[in-house]
């Protein structure tokens, strides 16, 4: 009999679904569809794993990369602001392919008179123009930029045929360069250096009118090899200005000839320190190598100010040598103050270095080297020990730009030496960011031309961690703040971008030339996405291990986006395809809310809904097994009596079951919930995310529950949860700590909270 009843009972509920489906009969059938599940794996989006790049995200057993070694002789003409150069490149073809020609990058050509770069942007005829803009647009460009190539020759001095296509140069070699072969050739060139302050640029000079001096921050100054690899073939996508660089690792020997009174520093180790340093500088340098707690001045402000007045006609050559770098940058000026501090990594001593004109003080002497040291420690802890011998921060007026071992950073005080917090934190943050770029992309050498986010996003993510650590390590430097005021990283800070007009938003997985709002697209959003992944989705331990795995796997190699995505999953054991799909491949946003709450009480009487189902099947109450019924508050099934009684009073079936199956002692020890809630959560936003909920009760206690993102896998719009509780619920809040970048928090609470009006709040505050 009991078995028979159970059958009917099961049938009743199995069929109930069907009966409802029949109630809402449709005239037309929906068409079929492909798999649109948000948790579908990324087979279509990802490239197929192969012998070069494995499905686990590591370099494959036949992974290769090319090598380009440079010997460069350079002269800086400080009178005319020109650079004259001659280089010999030795290129090693480690690929399995024979190369019929070689591609080099001529980045300076973006400033050539015939550059197409300014032509790529649209715009109409304005009603009026400022005279300078007008001249710049409609008269001949006043600045004659771009490389002037004098020759390209083979090792026997014979000219090689070359073709220049905008910022790219193809060299036609007499016979294909076979797998494993090397080729050497020489290039001679010169170019006019641009004013990086007024004309903008990642390289150039700043002119100081008061003392008639120049400070040079020089990069992209030589024809450089393009990357050839298994992903892009030759990466010869033109340099238009936004997409940065894709570069090959190699060894550099660079001799830089400058006026004898200039101070120079750059990528690599200085080979002839004794020739270019004075005795005093040499002594100070030796002290600095042992000074692990504070910087030592190599050139003091007084000495730099005296040097500013010098006009040496003699020349000096500074010789640098760098191993395994993807690029070279240097700086040169009479104006530089110079300080250094030592940092220990295992047995190695790394030098943290700053160069700045007096215009940077008092800010720079106080914070620059401190920020360099702090950055090297923070980033090394999360990736690998900083492998290069030094890291330099150079003060340039209004740009931040990174090169191996050296970067330019802004942050200039007012002329009277005062500065705002905005200038100070802007400066420390940019130093952390640019020094951090040594890790991404200088060492973990991603393709910036194609994927801006792979270095900018990872670096900005790490920058947030490093800034917070800077604040913890130097509380006096950030006082009266308790926490470093990071401008990116916290989820709430990306909300304005993500809730913005979709016409101006591009997925992260896009070429930097073609995105709107590059700052948010390639820096802010990926950094925030990784921060949320670390703190909310994966947890710090699993994330940090996976992030470190990726960093170590691709250190001194060329990773692609899939290598990052796959490594993060492979090393953590967490399927994240849904996360990459949503955050990186789409412009979806997070919006999760609580839609409604129903309250139920346990009852002995079949509810109206059950009765309807029984009637449809011709069943009587006696046909049913003992059941516990749920009566919704406010419905016909509900009475005040239910609210007053305990669960066991309200359901005789439940009471009998308890008495039959548990001893009095056991029953006394069991918690008996009294309140039953059905909470419906909805998800107007496209992104699936963990559902983080805080339940608050009448007695003032609260409970935070995180349902995994997979809670949305079968219904992308809404999900219900049943809450059984001894205490009555007073409120429910979704994402109470703003961890998920939810773009609309007005639907996050039950009972519903008043919508905030930013304008009114501000006005009330101002009125005070």
């Amino acid at each position: 009999m009991i078995q028979y009843r159970h059958l009917i009972f099961s049938a009743l509920f199995l069929l109930s679904g069907l009966s409802f489906a029949q109630d809402t009969k449709k005239e037309e059938r929906d068409p079929g569809h492909l798999n649109t599940n948000k948790f579908k794996q990324l087979y279509q989006e990802f490239s197929t794993p192969n012998q070069y790049r494995t499905a686990s995200g590591a370099p494959g057993h036949e992974y290769y990369q090319q090598k380009a070694d440079y010997k460069i002789n350079l002269e800086l003409d400080d009178k005319q602001q020109k650079i004259f150069g001659q280089e010999t490149i030795t290129y090693t073809n480690n690929s399995p392919d024979a190369l019929e020609y070689l591609w080099l990058q001529l980045d300076q050509n973006v400033r050539a008179k015939d550059s197409k770069s300014p032509l790529r942007n649209g715009g109409g005829v304005p009603a009026a123009d400022q005279p300078a803009d007008f001249v710049g647009k409609h008269f001949d460009a006043p600045f004659d930029g771009g490389f002037k190539i004098e020759y390209v020759k083979d090792t026997n001095g014979k000219g090689l045929k070359y073709t220049i296509n905008q910022t790219m140069m193809r060299i036609d070699i007499p016979k294909p360069l076979k797998a494993g072969e090397k080729i050497s050739f020489s290039v001679k060139w010169w170019y006019n250096i641009n004013d990086h302050v007024n004309q903008r640029g990642r390289s150039g000079y700043e002119y100081f009118e008061k003392d008639d001096n120049y400070a040079y921050v020089i990069a992209q100054f030589f024809p450089r090899m393009c990357v050839y690899n298994d992903v892009e073939g030759w990466q010869n996508y033109q340099f238009w200005g936004n997409g940065e660089f894709a570069l090959v690792f190699g060894d550099y020997d660079v001799n830089i000839t400058v006026p004898a009174d200039h101070i120079v520093d750059g990528t690599g180790e200085l080979q002839n320190r004794k020739q270019v340093f004075s005795k005093t500088m040499m002594n100070r340098y030796n002290q600095a190598r042992k000074s692990f707690d504070k910087p030592v001045m190599i050139v003091t402000q007084a000495e730099a100010e005296a040097n500013e007045k010098s006009r040496s006609t003699a020349k000096k050559t500074w010789k640098f040598s760098a191993k395994n770098v993807r690029d070279f940058g240097f700086t040169s000026s009479r104006k530089y103050i110079w300080d250094m501090q030592a940092v220990k990594f295992g047995e190695r001593t790394v030098m943290a270095v700053s160069l700045y004109p007096k215009e940077g003080n008092p800010l720079w002497e106080e914070f620059s080297t401190k920020a360099v040291v702090s950055t090297l420690k923070s980033y090394s802890d999360k990736t690998f020990d900083y492998p290069y011998p030094k890291a330099i921060s150079v003060h340039a007026k209004n740009q931040g730009m990174e090169y191996p071992m050296i970067c330019w950073n802004y942050g200039r005080p007012n002329e009277d030496g005062t500065y705002s917090d905005r200038t100070k934190y802007g400066m420390i943050s940019v130093i952390i960011h640019e020094v951090g770029h040594n890790f991404f992309p200088m060492i973990v050498n991603s393709d910036e031309r194609q994927w801006g986010w792979m270095d900018e996003g990872l670096d900005t993510f790490m920058q947030y961690i490093a800034e917070q650590e800077f604040g913890e390590w130097f509380p006096e430097a950030i006082a009266p703040n308790k926490k470093y005021p990071s401008r990116r990283g916290e989820p709430a800070k990306i909300v304005r971008y993500m809730k913005g007009d979709q016409s101006f938003i591009t997925p992260i997985m896009a070429n930097p030339e073609n995105v709107y709002q590059l700052g948010n697209n390639a820096y802010g959003k990926p950094a925030t996405a990784l921060n949320i992944l670390r703190e909310t989705v994966m947890g710090k331990e699993l994330f940090d291990h996976a992030f470190k795995t990726y960093s170590k796997r691709w250190m001194f190699k060329h990773p692609s986006p899939e290598d990052f995505f796959r490594s993060m999953e492979d090393a953590s054991g967490i399927d994240l395809d849904w996360y990459w799909r949503g955050w990186f491949y789409s412009t979806d946003y997070v919006d999760i809310g609580v839609k409604g709450v129903k309250k139920f009480y346990v009852s002995s009487k079949p509810t109206a809904k059950i009765k309807k189902m029984m009637k449809a099947r011709g069943m009587k109450e006696s046909d049913l097994p003992p059941l516990v019924y749920m009566a919704e508050e406010g419905s016909d099934d509900y009475s005040d009596k239910l609210a007053k009684g305990s669960v066991l009073d309200n359901s005789s079936n439940l009471k009998e079951y308890m008495m039959d199956n548990f001893t009095a002692e056991e029953r006394a020890a069991m918690p008996t919930p009294k309140f039953f809630y059905e909470v419906e959560f909805n998800k107007p936003g496209g992104l699936v995310m963990p559902l983080i909920v805080e339940y608050k009760y009448t007695d003032g206690t609260s409970k935070k529950v995180t349902y995994p993102a997979q809670v949305w896998r079968k219904n992308d719009n809404e999900v219900k949860k049943v809450i059984a509780s001894e205490k009555e619920l007073v409120s429910i809040t979704v994402d109470p700590d703003l961890e998920t970048a939810d773009i609309d928090i007005t639907n996050n609470s039950w009972p519903k909270q008043e919508k905030e009006n930013k304008f009114k709040n501000f006005k009330d505050k101002v009125k005070g």
């Binding site: 942007n121 715009g123 109409g124 005829v125 304005p126 009603a127 123009d129 400022q130 803009d133 903008r200 640029g201 990642r202 200005g241 936004n242 940065e244 209004n398 740009q399 931040g400 730009m401 802004y410 007012n414 705002s420 905005r422 802007g426 940019v430 960011h433 640019e434 900018e456 900005t460 401008r487 990116r488 800070k493 304005r496 971008y497 809730k499 913005g500 007009d501 979709q502 016409s503 101006f504 709107y516 709002q517 590059l518 700052g519 948010n520 820096y523 802010g524 009006n757 930013k758 304008f759 501000f762 006005k763 101002v766």
Partner: protein, 164 residues
């Protein structure tokens, strides 16, 4: 005419390309104009990069202006009254400067036009920062009653109309 419609979105702010690389390489401001009928108030919030507005003020008024300085409010009022024009039913409306706040590298400026009991049509002219930055783009969102419209203003197209 380059007009972009939007559906649900009221606020959008294009936060800077911070200064990594050049200070920030594109020039964008965002202005929200919202009509609150109960308060008979047209509420305006403009968000601009601090660097940009500082540069405009320095070129226009005084080389030494800093956004943290005392007189900045006067300049904001003066500048906006020339560069942001609002016509409700063909009549130019003066707005009151409520105040400003600085968040990271953006400045948020608050203005209000009071005593507007209804709006038949509204015309916005937004010439902010075009006097210095050629490639400036001013995104402007209007929300009047239940209608929403967004404009992307560039130097040669600085005004847009919304009919209710």
């Amino acid at each position: 005419m380059r007009v972009f419609k939007i559906n649900f979105v009221v606020l959008i702010v294009l936060v800077s390309l911070s200064s990594f690389m050049n200070s920030h390489k594109y020039y964008v401001s965002v202005t929200d104009v919202e009509y609150v009928k109960e308060a008979k108030s047209l509420q305006i919030i403009s968000r601009l990069f601090v660097d940009d507005i500082e540069k405009v003020f320095q070129e226009r008024y005084d080389e030494s202006i800093k956004i943290e300085g005392e007189l900045v409010d006067t300049y904001i009022e003066k500048y906006f009254s020339k560069k942001l024009l609002i016509q409700v039913d063909d009549e130019f409306k003066n707005f009151r400067f409520i105040g400003k706040e600085i968040e990271d590298d953006m400045i948020h400026c608050y203005f209000e036009v009071e005593n507007i009991s209804s709006i038949g049509e509204i015309k916005i002219t937004n010439k902010l920062l075009f006097d210095v930055f050629d490639s400036q783009q001013n995104i402007t969102h209007l929300k009047i009653d239940d209608k929403k419209k967004s404009f992307l203003f560039i130097k040669d197209n600085t005004s847009g109309l919304l009919k209710l």
